[in-house]
């Protein structure tokens, strides 16, 4: 609006006249090549689509603060009063069933597997990037090919093994499975992040006689740290989200949050607000991790192929 005002004739009060006179110079500037006009249209379209995509998320959040009666109306009660009842219900106010064990199980499996993944992937990526072994591309592609094998093709032997070894319903065993699930992706991501360490800097530190540990700490770590953090966050997300292995390999004791969520929908009574509250709580760690890794998300998810 402010850009239009100077074009208005002097002394004209703001109003329809000002707007009309303001429109003339604008139209003159309009041409097919004008980038600003294109961008306005693109901006409006992008915003509309972004809101459309966000509606299920926003609706989930809004409904989680509604009472069960207001949550299940047709047409929807958008302006209904807000309260925390659904969250209290989710945390077991009346049922007495607490989601905490499953949330703690999820956190245990995800964090344990992420630490193990980093401990295995960082040295491996080092041997594929900074001091590469012979035929390192072959090794790299072997890692990737294991990720392409569907989990479902290996789940039965894993289940039978866990059953004989007494590792069924054990959260640490599930964590080991998540480590194997994320390791190939982590090696790929990490390799692409370690590749960003300039060769000149490595050589310089070698010439200066710095040992390996010092080089790792002073040269490699500062460059690779954001990448390592992003890799950890992405691995955490994949572990936290996983359902199939958790469902097959865990039971009463080691059930994770997604397993808890699938058993949460009751067939009787109204439950929509409660389900929304559960979905919000369980998605929160992923949303935080995802937005924290936002800058490196593409590079990580594309296995380092896209920067």
């Amino acid at each position: 609006m402010s850009t239009l005002t100077p074009a208005a004739p002097q002394g004209t009060p703001p109003g329809p006249t000002a707007l009309n006179s303001g429109r003339t110079p604008r139209r003159r500037g309009k041409s097919r090549m004008d980038p600003t006009r294109n961008n306005t249209a693109a901006g409006i379209a992008a915003w509309l689509l972004a809101l459309l995509f966000a509606v299920p998320v926003l609706w989930m959040i809004l409904t989680s603060f509604h009472s069960e009666v207001d949550a299940a109306t047709n047409p929807p009660s958008v302006a209904a009063g807000l309260n925390l009842d659904a969250y209290k219900e989710f945390f077991g106010a009346t049922s007495g069933v607490s989601p905490w064990p499953s949330l703690i199980n999820s956190a245990t499996a995800s964090i344990f597997s992420t630490i193990l993944v980093l401990a295995l992937a960082i040295p491996a990526a080092y041997a594929l990037s900074i001091r590469p072994v012979k035929k390192w591309t072959d090794v790299l592609f072997f890692f990737l090919s294991t990720k392409m094998m569907p989990v479902v093709a290996a789940v039965l032997p894993l289940y039978l093994f866990a059953k004989t070894a007494g590792a069924l319903d054990n959260i640490w065993f599930l964590g080991l499975m998540y480590t194997s699930m994320n390791l190939p992706i982590a090696v790929w991501m990490m390799r692409s992040f370690l590749d960003e360490v300039p060769v000149e800097m490595l050589e310089a530190s070698q010439i200066d006689g710095a040992g390996l540990l010092l080089t790792l700490r002073k040269v490699v770590a500062p460059v690779a740290m954001p990448g390592i953090a992003a890799t950890a966050l992405i691995c955490f997300i994949f572990s936290w989200n996983e359902l199939l292995l958790a469902r097959v390999l865990t039971g009463v004791m080691a059930g994770t949050a997604p397993v808890f969520l699938t058993g949460f929908v009751s067939s009787q009574g109204l439950f929509l607000a409660k389900v929304c509250a559960a979905a919000v709580v369980i998605s929160l760690p992923v949303l935080f991790a995802g937005f924290a890794a936002q800058d490196k998300l593409v590079q990580g998810l594309s296995l380092g192929a896209v920067k």
């Binding site: 306005t40 809101l51 047409p75 491996a124 290996a154 032997p157 194997s180 559960a278 995802g290 998300l297």
Partner: protein
């Protein structure tokens, strides 16, 4: 791990020893380079390759854990069963339809969104953040929301909104579609498209932003239309990114379990192969049959994966040549 590496790597820089030790030293050096790689490699082979070999063996057995007496060699019987059983055949078709539909739709939507977000406008960062959100909802939670809060025929958001719009025009007979029972596979596909479009958008947006702008500007100077620029400059540049997004997406969506489990529990002909295999071994205890189906999935995936690896490899070489 690190200390072992440190010791061996440092020994590589020590003063040269007499020449008869040269070969041994060289070998030690090669192993020193390999050492950091081995834990990850060995772990992965044990946890992923070994179980698959076992799956392969079980797939040739007649093995139902409820009837242990009848366990024995079955030859290709399980495979013939997988390929002729109507339920299994249906599962194969569902897997293909689901994967193709989700990948193509989310790629097209992702491309449109990426082209829009490539332009500068007010609040672009926030719009991008909103668009990523669907990808950051736990898949089980997302499927529950779609099933109960959005698509439910009685009080779901879609039918609720239809009622509201119709009531604006004084009508009390709004259309109330029930996707969950009339087109359940469509319901699963829609929820998956919603989750995977952000993934495609992110990859394609990165592709767009790596586009050499000088050629685009030169084409603009020469009076090329936006469509011509898109068709002859942007699209060829994006081809690799489209392939990469499509193939990575396909690898994940072929394995989709969560959405099917939550939205339909595999009912109404919506069970894909992962779900059918889960049912076959978890509920029917048909270990041999489930394993054969698992091997079929792997063969299918290998076909897709060969293309995926080739695409990743070509992008990878480009990156390395940089």
């Amino acid at each position: 791990m690190t200390t072992a590496t440190a010791r061996t790597a440092r020994s590589g820089h020590s003063a040269p020893k007499p020449s008869r030790n040269a070969k041994a030293r060289e070998r030690a050096l090669a192993w020193a380079r390999r050492a950091p790689l081995l834990p990850a490699l060995i772990f992965l082979i044990i946890v992923t390759q070994l179980p698959f070999v076992v799956t392969l063996i079980i797939s040739f057995l007649n093995w139902n854990s409820l009837r242990p007496d009848e366990t024995g060699f079955a030859g290709f019987e399980n495979y013939i069963h997988v390929l002729t059983d109507p339920d299994m055949r249906q599962a194969i078709i569902v897997t293909i339809v689901e994967t193709v539909a989700v990948v193509l739709t989310s790629l097209l939507l992702g491309l449109g969104l990426a082209l829009l977000l490539d332009k500068k406008f007010i609040g672009r960062g926030l719009a991008r953040t909103l668009l990523i959100a669907p990808f950051l909802i736990v898949p089980v939670a997302a499927a529950l929301i779609w099933k109960h809060a959005i698509l439910n025929p009685v009080y779901g958001l879609i039918n609720g909104t239809l009622t509201w719009i119709w009531s604006l025009f004084g009508s009390d007979t709004p259309p109330q579609p029930d996707l969950l029972s009339t087109a359940p596979l469509m319901a699963i596909i829609i929820s998956l498209v919603w989750q995977w479009t952000p993934f495609m958008m992110l990859i394609l947006l990165a592709g767009l932003q790596s586009r050499p702008m000088d050629t685009v500007e030169a084409a603009q100077m020469d009076g090329a239309t936006p469509w011509a620029i898109f068709r002859h400059l942007t699209l060829p540049h994006l081809r690799q990114y489209l392939e990469l997004g499509g193939l990575l997406g396909a690898i994940y969506i072929v394995q989709n379990f969560d959405a099917t489990f939550v939205i339909t529990s595999g009912g109404l002909g919506t069970a894909n192969l992962p779900y059918a295999i889960y049912q076959t071994f978890y509920y029917a205890n048909e270990y041999g049959l489930a394993s054969a189906a698992g091997v079929v999935v792997v063969i299918g995936t290998i076909i897709v994966a060969t293309f995926a690896l080739r695409t990743v490899f070509s992008l990878f070489k480009k990156e390395a040549a940089r």
